[in-house]
Every structure is written in structure tokens, then in C-alpha cells.
Amino acid sequence: METTGLLAPYRVLDLTDESGFSCGKILADLGADVIKIEPPGGDAARFIGPFPGDRPDPGKSLYFISYNARKRGITLNLESHRGRDLFKRLAERADFLIETYPPGTLERLGLSFGTLRRQNPRLILVSITPFGQTGPYRDYKGSDLVTMAMSGLMSLIGEAGRMPLRVSLPQSPMWAGMYAAAGALTAHYFREAGNRGQHVDVSMQSSLLWALANGPAFWSTNRAVPTRGGSSVTGRSLTGARMRAIYECKDGYLNFIIYGGKAGRRSNQALVEWIAERGLATESLLNKDWNRFSIETSTQAEIDEIEGPTAKLFLQYTKSEFLEQAFKREMLGYPVSNARDILDDPHLKDREFWQSVDESVAGAPLKFPGVYARFSESGLPAFRPAPRLGQHNIEIYQGEFGLTEAEIASLREEKVL
């Protein structure tokens, strides 16, 4: 079995900042040779916390380390003439170039797609920006909060009438990076069928639309506008009934929802059996005919009657006890896990999900999230921690491009590297 990954033959030049650096990480996870190119002072993301021990250190930003693993790293100053010449040589033999500059920046640098592809018609250019390369908002400045707001997602998170919320860890760059990788590989498939490369224009706002799940369907279907329901699920019943989803348990919270359909019936019945075992069942709950229960016509009274005893039941268990019971009883539901719960989850250990990283990276050994899938034929490439600033300068400039030590020294002196 090959262990170099599905994309081993391909090279990616990665000019992204934190708004898109997950794209290169995703391609590197599948074996692509991703070269992160940083300005001589380093990617600004190296200064984003958290840091080990909360001591700021550009070599140990956990945010940077998270999404630059498996890449090699070089420095290059694209503002200098010699830097741009060197970059063009790099781009000549690259398969992909990923960038997150404001629209128009590559043109200003003399590195437009037209220029680059004249030398390398195969090149696929992937541009990730908050709103896209063209259009009325192309020059709008983005940030996670702004694109989360303008994707509509925030209008759907939080309590009705209260402040809309985002996820406290930025999600926009993750969605954009993911869809950028998908766009790159769509263009790649076409290129490898005997065509040339193309420009992939990724919008963060557009990428986030899929985080709304079926939200847009309410508008397309009935011109209805879904709203936020706090910790309850709405839009599942035609009567407007809300289903509670977050329950308190002994050591935190659980996510359990009354569902419909075949799967829901099985789960709801198992719940009532459990409630009955603990002596918490009401007479009407015990006699409920689940074959006649249907989520899309359920009323609030009917839902409340089930949810009351359920809340009492769950208070008797911890998150991990609930997970064990839910699995055993074939009930639908999962704990509201925090990072600690996830790190300790034995199931992930069974799947050998974590990559072990030694203390050289962050001062202590780490469990680093592995890849999201196992590939029966191609396997996965060996893990490589995020590069130190300019770590692979010699390997690439000298080893691959044949620059002499003297040339490299002079490039360093001129602050090109």
C-alpha cells in the first residue's frame, strides 16, 4: 500500500493568510507537496493566539500550527523585483497557487493569472476572499464576524429577540478553505483530462451558505423566513411546536431531540423505556402509541409531555454515561462535548485518529487531529508539523532551484528571503 497519499504528484504554492490557510492543509493532508510562502517577517497568523502557556511566540502560535501542518515553508518578499522573479520560477513548475490577497493585488504585483499561465498553462489559481473577485462587495473588508453575519447564519443562532451569535472559534475561514480545496480539485480533474488550468474564485460568504443547512429551502419553498430558536429546534412541525435539544446533565449538557420517522420512533420508544425503568414515566407516556406519532403534525402539548420526564432522567447521568446508554439503547442523541471530552473519547483512539506530535513543536507532546477519512488503497502521508519560518529555504532554493550559497546570502541581505 502506498503511503504518500492521493495527491502525491502535485505541488501547491500557498500564499494564504489565516483567512484561507486551511485549503493548503487539506490538500497536504491528501499528500500534495504544499509550499507555504511567507514574507520575510513571517505570516501575520504566527502572531495569533493561543500560545503554549499563553506566552506569545511567533514560532508556537497554536492557530498557525493548526492549519499549516504537513506543509513545507519558505520565505519570499513579493514586493521586491527579485522576489517576484523567483516566484515566477516557482510558479512555472507548480500545479496550484492559492492566495488570499484583496482582489487586484496579484495584478498590481505583476503576477496576474494571465501572466502566470503564459509560463505555465497548467496552473490552477485559487483565490479566496470574503466576497469574491468581482461584484459590488468585492472590495468590502471581511472578518469572520462580518461574513458570518452576511451569510445569514447568525440570524439563525441564539435566542429569539436576543443578540444573534457566531461560533466563538472562527468558522468562515474553514468553510472557505474547504470549498477552495474542492474547487481546486474540480478544476484539477478537468485539467488532467487534457485541458489547461483555470481560475477558481472562492467567496467566503458563499461558502458559509451551506452552514445554513436547509435554511434557504424555507424561502425557496414558501417565502418563509426561518428564525433562531435558542436551544430548541424549530421548523420541524407544521403546528409550530418547538423541540428542546439541549438538556442539563450531571456534568454539562446533552443534545437529545424528539424525532419523527422510523429512526425517531425507535429512539423515542427506547427513551420511554429508560424513563420507565427509573420510575419517572407518566401514565400517558407509558400508553403512547408511537406508531401514530408524527413529528410534522406534533403539537407543543404533546412534545412538552415527553420532554418533562426526559429532563428529570438526564439529570441523573453524566455526558459519558449518557453516550454509553444512548449507544446501548439505540437512541438518537449525543453529549455536548468540549475539547477535553473529545480528546478523551475512546472511539477516536480505536480509529487511531490522533497524530502524535513531539515536544519540539509546542514545548509538550501533542495529540494533533488526524484526517477525516481512511482510504483503502492510497493511505495517508506521514504527518509533518507546521514549518518554522523559512525552514525549507535551503532545501527548495538550493536543492531544487540550484541557487548557490552566495546567491542565497545576497537574497537574504536584500531581504528577498
Binding site: G49, P50, Y137, L156, M178, A180, A213, S220, S337
Partner: protein
């Protein structure tokens, strides 16, 4: 420059879906958007949950062809029906797979094997088949067989814990099965990479995708922070350690909000100028980032009083033209009026027999030479049985009729 090709990027790829709800079907939709031929297998005995169980339904009247979520997740596909409880249907399914490049399935672990459609069986039908299996927790491990939905897996994957008002309040839900759609993106990527691998090596493969592990890709910094700093985050509502102000502010009208994010002093002074508040700019409590963080409650209160009687759209436009990061908290309806999304042709109206017309969602990325083309609204149940079984599988019309009479194509 040569003329742009009129071909689609994924022309010539055929995909068969044995899938339900969203995590499988939207991968197929994405492949279809760029020209793959995607065949969705369902049955009258067990139609997709979004056809029967969950609103929205057109005009609030349930019906197999009236499910709005089904319509959103299944455009660009052909629809066939096979009652896979019947052995003849399973053998027909295998004949269909023999003509395909990719199979997508998102049943609980073990279901495809029990149907006789597991990877090894499908490989006998098509030696280089690529099979994407996407389930909650992957095909292996102690909880592999656990059934579950994305709305809840989103909580086990850590997202719910990071979302809320803080201060001991319970966590808030994301909307719908958030993690399903993370898994969709990674499933799409995995299939594309496997197609390239097959082109180079001649080998197909089985992709065992865990939706849980897909979700964790979006949370890496938090997982590292918990190990190195023993920190388990409690959500700080909308605040961000690197910025202040950083929040959404209520505007004129009860449901209008505007997001404002200021990361440095240059942006802060630009904000004060655009807001016409010179007194804020000269207030020493807000003179630098550290001070603004220290007095963030006061800052939020002042800004909230300023925005309260202004239109969210006016504020956002004014701040953006001053170079300040700002944006309206769009409702779902606003998305369909957003000029930027309109410019990108994000919503594509297609005719459908029950919906009249329906706005389908175009991909988040635009390809310069092979733009996605949304051509086909979601299929009615079994709509393409005759076409698929005759033109692709190669049955005669008589054989097809016989299978229908026997309840195999049903």
C-alpha cells in the same frame, strides 16, 4: 487566448447514490453541478426523510414531491426507485454500479453490507469503483454502528459548546445539522482526489469518512489549546480576543442587527470618523487595543446607542466605505436580495412540477473556464427509471415493465 471550453469539469463521471437526508446527497449534488451524471436511488417503500418527515412543504401541504429540503439538496440528479429489500433489486443495483465511477452512501455502518451492496460486493461489479461511505463516526471503532443525526453530532463534535451567550447560560444550537455539511465538503474533496488517483493508477477505493472527524478539522486550535493550556473554552458570545469592538449591534427595528469588527487603532479611528464621533476617538479609555478590551462593555453600550436608530444597511455601507469591517446580519430572506450573491448567480431558478419554480443553490466557487451549470431541478420519485434502466443499464422496455410489475423497480 483560446475559446473557453463548453465542457463541464466533471463530464463523463457517473455517480450512484444510495443516500439519505443531507450528508450523502449534497456530495452528489456538488458533483452534478459540474457535469457528473448523478443517479439517486430511492424507493416508494422508503423515500428520503426530506420527502416525508420534515418541513418545509410547498404551501405547507406534505407530499412526496413537495419537500423543500429535498429540492435544495437533490438538484442535478436523475431519480430511480429500487426496492432493495428484494434480491432482484439488489442485483439491478449492482448492474447500475457496474456502469458507474463513484458510489455515495451515508447509511449507518453495516447497512450496505446487509443489503448486499458493501464495498467488496460492489467491487465485484466494478473493480475500480470508488465508494464514499459517510457515517456519523466512521466504519470502525467501538461506536461505529451508532445511528445518529447531524443536528446532534454537531454537539459531540464540539461546536455547540463553543456557541452561546456565556456567563453560565446553556449552549446554543447551530442551525440544523451543521456537521453534516462539513462532512459534505470533505466527502466532495475525498471523491475528487480518489478520481485523480484512479486516473493515475487504475485503482478505485473505499473511503471511510467519519462526520465526527470531519467536524474536528474545523476546531483544531481549541483541541490544541485544551492540551497545552488546560483551557476549555466557554463561549464569549461574539467577542474576540484580537478585536474590540467586535459584536453585533441592534439597529432600527427589532430584527435588524449590524456586525462591526475593529482589529487595530487605524480601524478604530476610521470607525470614529465614519460614525462622526470625534469624542470617542479622543477618549483615552479607547486609545489602544488593550484599553478598548478593558472598557469593552462601555464601548458596546455606546455603539449600541448609536446604532439603535439607524438602518443596519446604512451603517454597514458607511463603515465599509471608510475601510471598517462591518456587515448586516442578513436574514434568510436578505440572502435572496443581496446584490453580491446576485452578482455571483448564487440562486438559480429552475422549474419543478410541484413547486412551480424553485431557487437552487449554486456552488461557493466559480470556475473561470468551466462554470457550473444548474440544469435540472430535483427528481420526482422514480422519474428517470425508464431512461436509466434502458439507456444506462441496458434493459429492454419489456424487462423494465416486468421489474415494475414485480415491485422491483418500485
Amino acid at each position: 487566448m483560446t475559446e473557453p471550453s463548453s465542457k463541464a469539469a466533471l463530464d463523463g463521471i457517473r455517480v450512484v447514490e444510495f443516500a439519505v437526508f443531507a450528508a450523502g446527497p449534497v456530495v452528489g449534488k456538488h458533483l452534478g453541478e459540474h457535469g457528473a451524471e448523478v443517479i439517486r436511488v430511492e424507493s416508494h417503500a422508503s423515500p428520503d426523510g426530506f420527502r416525508v418527515h420534515y418541513p418545509p412543504f410547498k404551501d405547507d401541504r406534505p407530499g412526496l414531491e413537495r419537500g423543500g429540503s429535498y429540492a435544495l439538496f437533490n438538484d442535478q440528479k436523475l431519480g430511480v426507485t429500487l426496492d432493495l429489500k428484494k434480491p432482484k433489486a439488489v442485483s439491478l443495483a449492482r448492474r447500475l454500479v457496474a456502469k458507474a465511477d463513484v458510489v455515495i452512501e451515508n447509511f449507518a455502518q453495516g447497512v450496505m453490507d446487509r443489503l448486499g451492496l458493501g464495498y467488496s460486493a460492489l467491487r465485484e461489479s466494478k473493480p475500480d469503483i470508488i465508494v464514499l461511505s459517510s457515517c456519523n463516526q466512521g466504519q470502525t471503532g467501538r461506536r461505529a454502528a451508532q445511528r445518529g443525526f447531524g443536528s446532534q453530532l454537531t454537539s459531540m463534535s464540539g461546536f455547540t459548546h463553543l456557541t452561546g451567550y456565556g456567563d453560565g447560560e446553556p449552549p446554543m444550537l447551530l442551525y440544523g445539522p451543521y456537521v453534516d455539511f462539513v462532512a459534505v465538503g470533505f466527502g466532495f474533496i475525498a471523491v475528487l482526489a480518489a478520481l485523480d488517483y484512479r486516473r493515475r493508477t487504475g485503482k478505485g477505493q473505499h473511503i471511510d469518512l467519519s462526520q465526527y472527524e470531519a467536524g474536528l478539522q474545523f476546531l483544531t486550535p481549541v483541541l490544541l489549546d485544551a492540551q497545552l493550556n488546560r483551557r476549555v473554552h466557554d463561549p464569549p458570545a461574539n467577542r474576540d480576543p484580537r478585536a474590540a469592538p467586535h459584536g453585533v449591534y441592534r439597529c432600527n427595528g427589532e430584527s435588524q442587527w449590524c456586525a462591526i469588527a475593529v482589529f487595530n487603532s487605524e480601524e478604530w479611528f476610521a470607525f470614529c470618523r465614519a460614525a462622526e464621533k470625534p469624542e470617542w476617538a479622543s477618549d483615552s479609555r479607547f486609545a489602544n487595543h488593550e484599553n478598548r478590551k478593558l472598557h469593552e462593555d462601555k464601548l458596546d453600550q455606546m455603539i449600541g446607542e448609536w446604532t439603535r436608530h439607524l438602518e443596519a444597511g446604512d451603517i454597514a455601507a458607511r463603515l465599509q466605505s471608510a475601510g471598517v469591517r462591518a456587515g448586516v446580519v442578513y436574514s434568510v430572506a436578505d440572502l435572496f436580495a443581496c446584490p453580491q450573491l446576485a452578482h455571483r448567480r448564487q440562486w438559480v431558478k429552475l422549474d419543478h412540477p410541484e413547486f412551480g419554480s424553485y431557487e437552487h443553490e449554486a456552488p461557493p466557487f466559480l470556475l473561470s473556464e468551466t462554470p457550473a451549470e444548474l440544469r435540472r431541478s430535483s427528481p420526482c420519485l422514480g422519474e428517470h427509471n425508464d431512461y436509466v434502466f434502458e439507456m444506462i443499464v441496458g434493459l429492454s422496455p419489456e424487462e423494465i415493465q416486468q421489474f415494475k410489475d414485480e415491485g422491483v423497480i418500485a
